[in-house]
Symmetry: C2
Subunit: 392 residues, 2 copies
């Protein structure tokens, strides 16, 4: 295990109706004037936004609003939010929504107290300071409610890039599984895929002797394999939603990823897909991740066999562990299909003709240095080959 630091100071409030106390938490953590940041219609239509405002008012918290966050959130709205926060002297950013809304809120929170261009953070500058951030989560997926990460698409070039740092850990996060019970099956499945991808990105490592985090990751994956189909079959299953919601946070707050090299190539490659086609991040991951697995598994056959055996219950082929490794990859792909995810570029609406461009941008676009991935270092030709596999 490698040396590491781990700091997850977010105050989590989990369960039914807890969003109705949001004003109390903003106040408790020192907020006096909030930016309420959200996406589109569903937060308004469901009455959630009204309940949030009511709670803020009851706690004497004044606020301004900024809606309109889209999936794959854009830099334009971030600049708008920063201007608004500065003008209105906002001291707390409250995200009401999913990963996109939270990521946009994080960018605004950091940008408001930073003299330069907020995009600096998305080119590698660590985020040390930001306005305090609170979240009310409406989809279990990105894990941004507990993570130090944010992903934004720069409209100037359509680069989709991530930023990270302690300033990005939310001060509090309210997780009410009820708020996710009305999500359509497709979005739910995208969330499940994203959570599992966060676990696999950590699982495939070059660091040896990491049994404790291996076992935690495998446990969380098994919980997703159990709960995923239940919630697709029965969308308003509170208990399944609750298990998935906590797994989504645990998958990405990094307590199961400490002290080990992580990969993240599949995320980097997927970002090119969603930047180009504006597809759902989870759907893009469903296409990319199994292809990535098929391309790289020979690097550590036994690790892939371990996942196949422990997570998917594949029988171990002791004479030829490669068979077990491949059976595990196939089991993952079949699972994704079973919850309604696309697993080929074609199903995603992506074009084989764009593969060259995507591979190039993944490796060289914006601030990139020529390769992606921690488990296996992938160069442009490797990324292209993975996307070719994903076309099959």
């Amino acid at each position: 295990m490698n040396n590491f630091t781990f700091y997850s100071p977010t105050y989590f409030v989990f369960g039914k109706e807890e969003e109705n106390h949001v004003g109390h938490y903003v106040k408790r953590f020192g907020g006096t004037k909030a930016l309420v940041h959200y996406g589109g219609g569903s937060v308004v239509r469901s009455g959630l936004l009204d309940r949030v405002k009511k709670s803020l008012e009851e706690s004497g918290i004044s606020y301004v609003e900024l809606g309109g966050v889209k999936p794959n959130p854009r830099s334009g709205l971030v600049y708008e939010g920063i201007d608004l926060c500065r003008k209105e002297k906002v001291d707390f950013v409250l995200a009401v929504g999913g990963g996109s809304v939270i990521d946009s809120s994080k960018a605004i929170a950091a940008g408001t107290v930073y003299e330069g261009d907020f995009w600096d953070f998305y080119q590698g500058r660590p985020v040390e300071k930001a306005l305090p951030i609170g979240t009310i989560l409406t989809i279990a997926a990105a894990g941004s409610e507990g993570s130090p990460d944010s992903v934004i698409t720069n409209e100037n070039g359509m680069f989709k890039r991530g930023a990270s740092g302690e300033g990005f850990r939310p001060t509090f996060s309210i997780l009410n599984p009820e708020l996710t019970q009305t999500l359509p099956a497709y979005q739910t499945a995208c969330g499940i895929t994203d959570i599992m991808a966060h676990l696999f990105e950590r699982y495939f490592t070059t660091t040896s002797e990491v049994e404790v985090t291996d076992r935690m990751i495998e446990g969380l994956l098994m919980a997703m394999v159990h709960e995923g189909p239940r919630v697709i079959a029965e969308p308003d299953h509170y208990e399944a939603r609750a298990n998935i919601m906590w797994a989504g946070m645990m998958a990405h707050n990094n307590s199961c990823g400490v002290g080990r090299v992580q990969d993240w190539a599949s995320h980097d490659i997927e970002h090119e897909l969603s930047a180009l086609y504006d597809c759902a991040h989870g759907a893009g991951l469903a296409v990319v991740f199994p292809a990535w697995m098929r391309y790289v598994y020979r690097k550590d056959v036994m690790r892939f066999a371990q996942a196949a055996s422990r997570v998917w219950g594949c029988p171990m082929d002791f004479a030829n562990p490669e068979n077990t490794a491949l059976a595990g990859i196939e089991a993952f792909r079949n699972f994704l299909k079973s919850i309604g995810m696309p697993t080929t570029l074609g199903e995603l609406g992506a074009r084989v003709e764009d593969i060259g461009q995507m591979a190039h941008t993944a490796c060289f676009g914006d601030a990139r240095q020529g390769a992606v991935g921690g488990f296996v270092k992938l160069e442009e030709k490797d990324v292209a080959a993975i996307l070719e596999l994903a076309a099959e």
Copy 2:
């Protein structure tokens, strides 16, 4: 899953030689004058205490010292520490040691800023405020480095009781597995037992639909089953020590115990053993926990069968799940024996004649209300019956 809040704001610094930067962390978190609190000779002999002082001095942190914490830490030294902190205007308590030292430090940190008797907290008053606490952990066991808990023995009556509250979460904790490599096998095994007990106390629950935390607990238990014998066989195995150390923190910071009723009867019963015979807490748990399991498993045979199957790999007896449940309990007991733990009262040096007194004190001593345990409510006669089983 039940509603819950989860707040674990401790900054963890993990890995080789990290204790040499302790001064930096005390300073970073606002300390200017520290109480350095520790146990006995080993911290001095190993040179650890000198390195800690050197680091504090290099960061310009002044300090006073208080050694002498014993296993099953006592109230007398806590009062002494509180007086010292007040007199010397200490603003940071630094624990250098294991669970006993950390628990004693927590009591001092809370007592210093509280007008009443610190024992109030150990009779049920939640700990909201305390001086900031830093820890340098020297044994993986109690999980106190990341938990909101502390256990102290009141010399006035020899009651061993726990206190809890947000003020008890350490501000930072330094976890260097190297510091545990010199521990004798017996103490190491006591630590392993304590960690597994923390997991089982959470596992046995009346709350249904808790797959995600079930899987996390099972994963951590399997990691302990893997690493435990390795570290007993090879005490200076850094990687095994490292895995156990992170598991010990994760087992007790409660991220795997949220939203579910927990038990804790075995801990309550064990506290009577260690209060009366001053035995090691882990050794007492090795005696009590399997006996508790044998006494209560009929309450939820399938939960015990699940643990047997998933953690211990016992084949499921579908015609008679009770056989599987019992095989799992036997596997746990055999594991404890294999790492050198006692599993009977006799081996612990405890006397059958004291069972009545211990059962009575567990249920009625000090501030107790007549029963212990969340999974099964145990009255005095049940506790006595469990201790009788433990005598076998």
